[in-house]
Point group: C2
Chain length 455, copies 2
C-alpha cells in the first residue's frame, strides 16, 4: 500500500505496461510525412530498409494506439523497470513551497538514463531480422552506452560515433561502452566520407550530433551486415519511451493526485516524449494540464527554430522531416548537456508544439547547474546536465507557486544521473561555465540553407 506521505511510488513487475502507447492514433491533426532526400516525395518503407528492420519501419508509420511489447524486451526491462516516481519532500522543504514536486527517475537503468527503453527494443528487432552489427552516434554518451548494453544482451556488435567534444570531456563514458563490448570512436572521424569532408573543411571540428549521425548512417548504408540505430527524434523511439509516462500515470493514481504542470528536457525529444505523450492523450481528451519542454538557450530548437522540412543530419543523407529545426548546418555551442545539442526535434514533439498542446522554454547552463546542486544536496541524486534542465524549471515553478501561494502538483522527468558528467560539475565549481546564446544571424544563416519544401 502506498500513502500520500511516501517518498517513492513503486510498481511491481506485473504492473509494467504490456504495450507502448502511440500518440499518432490520437492526434487532432495528422502529421506531415517524411520526404525522400533525393526526390522530395513521401518516403516509403523501402527507403528506410537499408537502415532499420521492417518491424521498426512499420512502427514508425503505425497509427495503432497500442503496440505490444515483446516478451523478450519486457524481460530485459525488468532489470530496472518499473522505475520509481519520487515525491521530492526534501526539495519542497528547502524551497519552502506549497507546491508538491514529483519526479520520475530513469537513472536506475544500468546505463544511467531512459535511453535503454528504446535501445533494448531496437537491439531486439534487429536481432530478430538477422542483423548482427549496429552503428550509431552519441552526444553526451547516454545513448551510446544504452545501445552498447542492450546490444550485449542480444549478442550484437556496436560501433559508436561519439561527438568529439563529448569524447574528450567524458573519457569514462567510452570505457563504459567498451565494458559492454562496443567500439567507440570520436566524430568527425576519418572512417567515413562524411567525416573526412568535415575534417577537410575544419580539421579541429568539435563535432555535433548531426555530423555523427551522417557518419553512422553512411557506414550502415554501405555495409550489408550493418543497420543503424537512432536514440531519439523518430516516431518509433518516442513510442518505446512511452513506458515512462504510462508508469507515471499509474503511480499518480497511487499518490492519489495528478500533475498540473510537467517539465522534461528536450534534445531530440525522446525523454520528453516518453514521459509526456501518455499525458498529452489526457490533455487532448480535455484534461487541464500544462506540459513544458525545456531546452538549452545554446540550442533553442523549439523556442527559436522554424517548423519546416529539414534533414536529420549534417550530410543531408536522412529523409527530410517536418520538424522544429535550427538548420542542419547549425553548430550549437559546446555546452555540457551534450545530449541536447541537436539542430532538430522529434516531428511528434514539433507537431504538438505547433498545435499548442505543449509549451517550451529555454534555460542557460549556469542556472541549470545551480538547480542541479540544490537538487543533489536535498534529494541526493546528482542529475545529468540534460536532466538538470527539467530540475531547474521545476524549481522555478515551485518558487512561483510559493510567491503566488499556489498548491500546484509539479512533475518533472529526471532522465538520468550525472555520474559520468562530473567534469562538467568541476567546470561549474571552477566558475568556467559560459552561458551561450546564439545571435539571430547564426540561426537565420543556417535556416536560409534549407531546401524549399511544400510547407
Amino acid at each position: 500500500m502506498s500513502s500520500r506521505s511516501d517518498t517513492k511510488f513503486l510498481l511491481g513487475e506485473s504492473d509494467m505496461p504490456p504495450a507502448w502507447y502511440n500518440i499518432l492514433a490520437d492526434l487532432p491533426e495528422p502529421m506531415s510525412p517524411p520526404l525522400h532526400p533525393g526526390t522530395g516525395q513521401p518516403a516509403g518503407p523501402d527507403d528506410l530498409a537499408p537502415l532499420f528492420p521492417m518491424e521498426l519501419i512499420l512502427q514508425e508509420v503505425s497509427t495503432d494506439r497500442y503496440i505490444d511489447i515483446p516478451q523478450e524486451v519486457q524481460e530485459v526491462y525488468k532489470l530496472w523497470r518499473p522505475t520509481p516516481l519520487y515525491r521530492a519532500h526534501r526539495l519542497e522543504k528547502l524551497l519552502d513551497t506549497p507546491a508538491k514536486i514529483f519526479y520520475k527517475y530513469e537513472g536506475t537503468s544500468p546505463a544511467g538514463s531512459h535511453k535503454p527503453n528504446t535501445a533494448v527494443a531496437q537491439a531486439y528487432y534487429n536481432k530478430m531480422a538477422g542483423i548482427n552489427r549496429l552503428t550509431t552516434e552519441t552526444g553526451a554518451g547516454q545513448w551510446g552506452s544504452a545501445l552498447a548494453m542492450s546490444a550485449a544482451f542480444f549478442d550484437l556488435e556496436v560501433k559508436v560515433f561519439m561527438v568529439r567534444v563529448s569524447y574528450e570531456q567524458k573519457p569514462y563514458r567510452r570505457a563504459l561502452m567498451e565494458a559492454w563490448g562496443a567500439t567507440c570512436i570520436p566524430s568527425p572521424s576519418n572512417e567515413t566520407e562524411a567525416g573526412r569532408r568535415i575534417l577537410q573543411q575544419e580539421p579541429d571540428s568539435r563535432g555535433s550530433l548531426g555530423i555523427a549521425i551522417s557518419e553512422a548512417v553512411e557506414e550502415a548504408v554501405t555495409r550489408d551486415d550493418t543497420h543503424y540505430a537512432l536514440g531519439s527524434v523518430l516516431n518509433h523511439v518516442m513510442l518505446h519511451q512511452t513506458v515512462i509516462g504510462q508508469e507515471a500515470q499509474k503511480q499518480f493514481e497511487l499518490a492519489d493526485t495528478y500533475p498540473d504542470v510537467i517539465f522534461g528536457c528536450v534534445g531530440g525529444g525522446s525523454n520528453f516524449g516518453g514521459l509526456v505523450l501518455p499525458l498529452v492523450k489526457d490533455r487532448i481528451a480535455g484534461k487541464d494540464l500544462r506540459i513544458v519542454a525545456v531546452e538549452p538557450t545554446a540550442c533553442p530548437t523549439l523556442t527559436r527554430g522554424s517548423f519546416v522540412y529539414d534533414f536529420g543530419d549534417t550530410a543531408q543523407t536522412t529523409p527530410l522531416m517536418k520538424m522544429h529545426t535550427l538548420g542542419h548546418t547549425f553548430m550549437p555551442a559546446g555546452i555540457h548537456a551534450g545530449g541536447l545539442r541537436y539542430h532538430g526535434m522529434s516531428p511528434i514533439v514539433s507537431h504538438l508544439y505547433e498545435h499548442n498542446l505543449i509549451d517550451a522554454i529555454a534555460l542557460p547552463q549556469t542556472a541549470i547547474f545551480e538547480g542541479a546542486i540544490q537538487f543533489a544536496r536535498s534529494e541526493g541524486i546528482v542529475p545529468a546536465p540534460e536532466s538538470a534542465h527539467a530540475v531547474r524549471a521545476a524549481i522555478d515553478e515551485a518558487l512561483r507557486c510559493k510567491e503566488a501561494g499556489e498548491e500546484k502538483t509539479i512533475l518533472f522527468g529526471l532522465s538520468g544521473h550525472g555520474n559520468f558528467d562530473m567534469a562538467a560539475y568541476q567546470e561549474y565549481f571552477a566558475g568556467n561555465l559560459i552561458d551561450h546564446e546564439h545571435p539571430q544571424d547564426d540561426i537565420d544563416r543556417a535556416l536560409a540553407q534549407l531546401p524549399a519544401m511544400g510547407d
Copy 2:
C-alpha cells in the same frame, strides 16, 4: 505479488526494517573488548567521546538485539531503500548452471554503494549531539561520497582525507563529494602531524586507509567542533548496515527460497557484515548455510592475517581492537579495489571467522575484472571492483554447481556500481593489471611490530 520467475523481489517502504539487528546479542562467545592505546586497559565510553557522539558509543557496546532506527534516518533511507534483490536469470543462462543466483544490489543509493546506510545514521546522531563538522577517510571514494551526501542532508561540513592513489585514479569521485558540499584532500597530507610524518619518511607515499584514518582522527581530536566518522570496521557501522540482510531475508520469503551459500566482499567488513549478520543469526540457530567473505589476494586480512590486538590506524591513535590484521604498518599493493585495501578487519567479522561461523577466500584482481565483465554483459550493471570480488566468487560457485549438477541457491552482495571506477576497467582492457600477492615476509614483518597484548 511476487512469483519465482520474477527478476526483482521488491519491498515497499512500509516493509523497511524498523530496527537495526545487533549480532552481539546472539554470539555464542563474547567478544574481546577494545583496549585504550595508552594504558592497554579496556577502553570506556569516555575514551571515545572526542571522536563520536554518545549515542554511537553506546551502540558500539550495546548487547540489545534490536536498536530502533530513528524516524529521520528512515526518511532518508527511503530515497533509495528498500533495495532490490535480483534473481540473475541472464547470468545463470550464460553460465548454463543449475544453481539459482541472487544478488542484493546496494548501488541504487545516490552515492552508488551500501555506505550511506551508516553515513546517514552517523550524520544524524552527530547533528543531534550538536556537532557541525566531520572528518573522515576514504579509499576508493565510496565512503567519502556517502558521508558527503549524508552530511548535506543534515547540514554538516565534511572534510575527507582520500588515499592518494585513489585520489589520482578517481578524479570524478572528488568532484562528486564536492557536488554534495564536502572538501576532499589527498592523504598523506601536510595538514596533520601524522601526514607530515609519513611524507617525511616517504615523500611519494601513495597512502593507505590506515594513514588516512590517522589524519582524520587527529583533526577530530584536536578540534572541539569536529567529530570523526568511520565507514567500516566498528560495531555500530556493522549494526547500521544490517538493513541489507534484514531486507534480503524478507525478499527470500517472497522468492520462496533460502540461500545455501552467501558471498560478500570484505575490506573493513561493513558490506559483508550488513548482508550476512541477520543470516548468521539463522546459522547460529542451526540453519545449514555457508557464508563466505571474499578478499583480495593483495590484502588477505582474514586468510593470511593473525587474530590479535592491533591499532585501527597507522599512527597508533585508535583503540586497540582484537581483530584479523596484517599489522597496521602493512602497506597493501595499489589494487583498483581501493575500498578493500585495509590492514585490519571488523572485530565482529573476525570473531565470527575465528569461531567458524563464516569462511573466507582470497581472489586476484584480473579474475575479479573477468567476472565483472561477464556480469555486466549479462545483467547490465557494471560492478565496483570491490563488489566484483563477490561476483567472481558467485560465478565460480555456480560453475562448481554445474560440474556437480547441484541446484544450490547462491546469494551475493553487489555492494555498489562501478561508474566511478572506469579507469580501472580501462587498465583491465589494456592488459595492465597485475595480480599482487605479498610474500610472507611482508606480512610477518608487519605482524612482528604489534604490541603484545593478552591474546
